[in-house]
């Protein structure tokens, strides 16, 4: 087999997302359909989706989606989980046998709540406890891997083309207020089930087109704070950076965007609003290790919303469109048209300019 370097692999990847600002249900079929016109951006080595609002009956429980290499690993892991969580439901994630998707691991999901006694003993808040448990399983338990751990959301990913991955996971049977999707064209790292996008921690998820030149600088910085990059690909570090900046440090999403896609110093110098200039300088200085260089377009999913962001040089494409209560984001307008042929106000955000769309207040409370 020829290795990267002996063979030229043009970087591709496809991202797409949709959200209803009214919190209305959207079938998983919509996001699967978005990936079809972008088929050639992927090479069949990874596809995946994240759906928000898909588990209303279990919305107060963390939904752990897991891959296991064998039954014994699952049994061991369940013993570990039972010591820490109340498991209100555990089941195989329903899949459809199709020839396009093969060699699947054991794919399971658990709806869990941390045991109060364990939380009290650990003196940790709930989210920190869940995040640490995820890191622990992924680093210390060979053959077990948590690939989704948020409330009322879930990630579905596999090796294959994204439209086949959607069929494999029967996404048409789920409904949510927002979805993200990804087709992978791995360039520097292996195509395996855990390496497919989205990458998630708690309710945060990332789909990413591009490659991170600053990966190791970012990884070294973020691993100082308890995160472990275990998935043999660059994108996961963005998920941990967003978790660190927003959940742990308390930055706003817009501020987090100004850290990872910080304006150039020359652009900051020319900023006419002194308050803004001060803020950009502060964020660039304080979190210099979290600046992400290299080309990227990402969609960051969180409970109640989506944020789309390009690298500051805009070396990857991304367009946004609207129709009624819905907002669509994608690498290509064709994918938006596949979701909504009548989409309006199509525009391409500038590099480093975050587009944040949230379910309206009130509408989100009822979910």
């Amino acid at each position: 087999m020829k290795m990267e370097g002996q063979v030229r692999i043009p970087s591709g990847c496809a991202i797409a997302a949709v959200i209803s600002r009214k919190g209305r249900n959207i079938s998983g079929e919509v996001i699967t359909g978005a990936m079809r016109p972008m088929h050639d951006r992927s090479n069949g080595l990874g596809g995946g989706f994240a759906g928000y609002g898909i588990y209303p009956a279990y919305k107060d429980f963390y939904a752990l989606h897991m891959f296991f290499d064998e039954r014994a690993t699952r049994k061991n892991c369940e013993t570990f989980l039972k010591e820490r969580f109340e498991i209100v439901k555990s089941e195989i994630i329903p899949t459809r046998k199709i020839p396009e998707i093969t060699d699947e691991p054991i794919i399971w999901r658990y709806f869990v709540a941390p045991l109060q006694s364990v939380l009290a003993a650990a003196q940790l808040d709930e989210k920190e406890f869940v995040a640490r448990t995820v890191m622990r399983i992924n680093t210390e338990m060979p053959g077990a891997y948590v690939f989704s751990s948020g409330k009322n959301m879930g990630t579905f990913k596999a090796v294959g083309f994204p439209e086949d991955v959607g069929a494999f996971y029967r996404l048409e049977e789920y409904e949510g207020y927002s979805w993200t999707g990804h087709g992978r064209y791995p360039t520097n790292t292996p195509g395996w089930w855990g390496g497919a996008h989205p990458f998630t921690l708690l309710d945060f998820s990332i789909v990413h087109n591009g490659e991170i030149s600053s990966y190791d600088a970012n990884r070294r910085f973020i691993e100082m704070f308890g995160y472990r990059c275990t998935l043999q690909t660059d994108t996961e570090v963005i998920t941990y950076i967003m978790d660190y900046l927003i959940r742990v440090q308390g930055l706003t999403r817009r501020e987090a965007a100004s850290v990872i896609a910080a304006p150039f110093w020359s652009t900051i110098e020319r900023e006419t609003d002194p308050e803004k200039r001060q803020k950009y300088m502060y964020l660039r200085t304080l979190f210099s290790g979290l600046l992400i260089t290299g080309p990227f377009s990402i969609v960051f999913g969180f409970s109640g919303g989506l944020m789309a962001l390009n690298d500051r040089l805009k070396l990857r494409s991304m367009v946004v469109g609207e129709k009624d209560d819905k907002v669509y984001i994608s690498s290509e307008e064709a994918a938006i048209r596949a979701m909504e042929p009548q989409a309006e106000n199509i525009w391409a955000p500038a590099g480093g300019e975050p587009v944040i769309v949230q379910v309206e207040e009130g509408a989100y409370e009822c979910l």
Partner: protein, 240 residues
């Protein structure tokens, strides 16, 4: 005129049909098929729906009319022919084009005209009716870029870092370009009478295509950007 329904058709089939047609074609239901008309030298093609990336790459004389927006890398390395877009154009439009013409009714994304070049009678032209994103004319080595900024209502008509690395060709920008920062290797100055006739030709052609009032569009200051000298980067890395 041959009708081609491109719905659910892959790009190879679509391009084969175009090549084999031998006559003008009207493509409907287009949704993301790449490389449409790549390298083609004859026929006129009209497209309804969104053509995929690299529309008209290496175009060699054929003409394309799109009744919608287009995606990235339109006219990549095109040599001759014409692409008319009744909408906006994505990133890296006219990438390294060395001949032919691109007219865009609305706006262009990042890096329009990157590495455009010219050779003897081959002088490519790109006219953008709306605004253009950052890095307009990056490494421009030849050809002509026109940005009219129509409908921008006082907003800047081009993004950051225009003309970075520009060393040939020219750029006409509508307005006096206040607040736009150009690199020191280029000269931006008001269009003089000697260049006015050339500019008017481009503007009138744009206005005829998209049904705009040419007099109104021309009733404005224009800025001409050209490299500051024949070899502006002589000492950038080593003497060359």
């Amino acid at each position: 005129m041959k009708q081609i329904d491109a719905k659910d058709m892959d790009f190879e089939t679509l391009n084969r049909k175009l090549r084999e047609s031998g006559e003008d074609c009207a493509v409907t239901g287009c949704c993301g098929q790449r490389f449409i008309a790549a390298g083609m030298s004859k026929i006129h093609i009209t497209i309804d729906g969104i053509p995929g990336n690299a529309l008209g790459a290496y175009l060699n004389g054929a003409s394309i009319t799109v009744r919608a927006n287009t995606q990235d890398a339109v006219g990549d390395t095109m040599n001759a022919g014409e692409i008319i877009v009744y909408g906006s154009i994505g990133d890296a439009a006219g990438y390294a084009m060395r001949g032919g013409r691109i007219f865009v009714r609305d706006s262009a994304g990042y890096r329009a005209g990157i590495h455009m070049k010219a050779y003897h009678e081959k002088v490519p032209l790109m006219v953008i009716g709306g605004s253009a994103g950052s890095f307009l004319g990056e490494y421009q080595a030849g050809g002509v870029i026109v940005v009219l900024g129509l409908g921008e209502k006082g907003r800047r008509i081009i993004g950051n870092f225009p003309c970075t690395g520009m060393h040939g060709g020219k750029m006409f920008l509508r307005g006096d370009c206040q607040g736009i920062h150009f690199p020191r290797e280029v000269t931006a100055k008001p269009v003089e009478a000697s260049a006015r006739a050339e500019l008017e030709g481009y503007v009138r052609e744009y206005c005829a295509l998209f049904d705009r009032d040419a007099e109104a569009v021309l009733d404005s200051p224009f800025t001409l950007v050209t490299p500051a000298s024949r070899n502006p980067y002589q000492q950038m890395y080593v003497a060359n």
